[in-house]
Symmetry: C4
Subunit: 127 residues, 4 copies
């Protein structure tokens, strides 16, 4: 169980798009959303900073998150508020920087139509 | 056919979420589940250890699996029982360590709604 | 916010297939399409050239796109026109070359049936 | 347009599962299938050999495919016949070896239920 560090300190999710909200769906886990899933397998908390890039304006951020040692955080990108919310129905991209190695995977659940759609990919990691 | 070793010895699946069970679906292959697909293309059995990380508790494990030489194992994460089951509807992440190189791909089938959704990604591999 | 360069200068999307158009769907964001999502996290504009490969003819291109500094471009592959449109319902693949590092992710939305399907993956990046 | 070689010579798709056939769907492009999408961006034809691994038997193969210079092949894994067909509804994995660098992406279309589901990922590439 003594898992050491694994991962990279800089990650990019080039695809970002939070579909319009569909609050008529009763189960909140089935409403459209995006998640940045992060694992810190090491023994020191990870201080993570997100920067969000857009098509036609300067980046937003920094968004600050802690991924504690030996924990995962499945960060709901549609729920970020500080310093500002990511607008829905707007293309964006994310840069995720951590002070220790982590691993990042990106997932979207899109339930604009009757049946939900899912997509997921490992993010791009760089040293 | 003399395929040698290919892959990495440490892999991370940062996204993990087993949807609530839907036993009303008769075909068990269509019920919501997650799979860690592993290939051992080499000539020696791989001893694999999984550690499962959560948001708010210490990791679970070790889960021990053998991927025999020249075989694939599509491990159903929702069916693990030893040392404990992974709870459903709970965010988690997985670290997969093997004593020889393997390749790991992660897939989820989500059939909470009428039509199933699929997602898959190569895991993050490290030396 | 002083994000430096991150990524690779050459990327491949080996899967490409733009489903037949479904203009009967009123919301254009829900019609079948493919996107090459690109992030330029650096401080100099990226000059990007796409080459499109087919099964049975010479490649098409170059398609020229600028990804401005500190911006993302979610390029709709089904909307390219110069030097020629990518035909629908036709397998293809893309090579994306940039003069500074960028990150590329590929996404398809397929709404040929009543409920949309999504897929996404990081592209293959090379130096 | 003078695209040189890009990619790796060995690739693994650890996830493989061809859903049961659904010939009642009239449009054959909407029936469940799996594809290994390969791009050869170089100027020499690629001789590609696939080996298919199973859970409980020795590997099948070699399956031989040529990916011509400057062409893509979207290989339908459910249509292979020589030396043997890959059985449906059976977990498998694939090793893809080429004599020049190529890029491989894996896609499944699953239409067992009323609405199709899609998944795709870059394969694992090794030198």
């Amino acid at each position: 169980m003594a898992a050491g560090y694994i991962g990279k300190q800089r990650w990019v999710i080039a695809e970002g798009y939070i579909p319009p909200d569909n609050t008529e769906i009763k189960d909140p886990t089935l409403r459209s959303h995006e998640t940045a899933c992060m694992l810190n397998a090491g023994d020191i908390d990870a201080n993570v900073v997100l920067t969000v890039f857009f098509v036609d304006r300067e980046p937003a951020g920094p968004y600050r998150v802690i991924v504690p040692a030996r924990r995962t955080v499945h960060l709901r990108l549609d729920k970020l508020t500080e310093p500002e919310a990511i607008p829905r129905a707007t293309p964006y991209a994310s840069l995720i920087e951590a002070d220790v190695p982590i691993v990042v995977q990106h997932t979207r659940l899109d339930s604009r139509q009757d049946a939900l759609a899912l997509m997921s990919t490992i993010a791009f990691g760089a040293d």
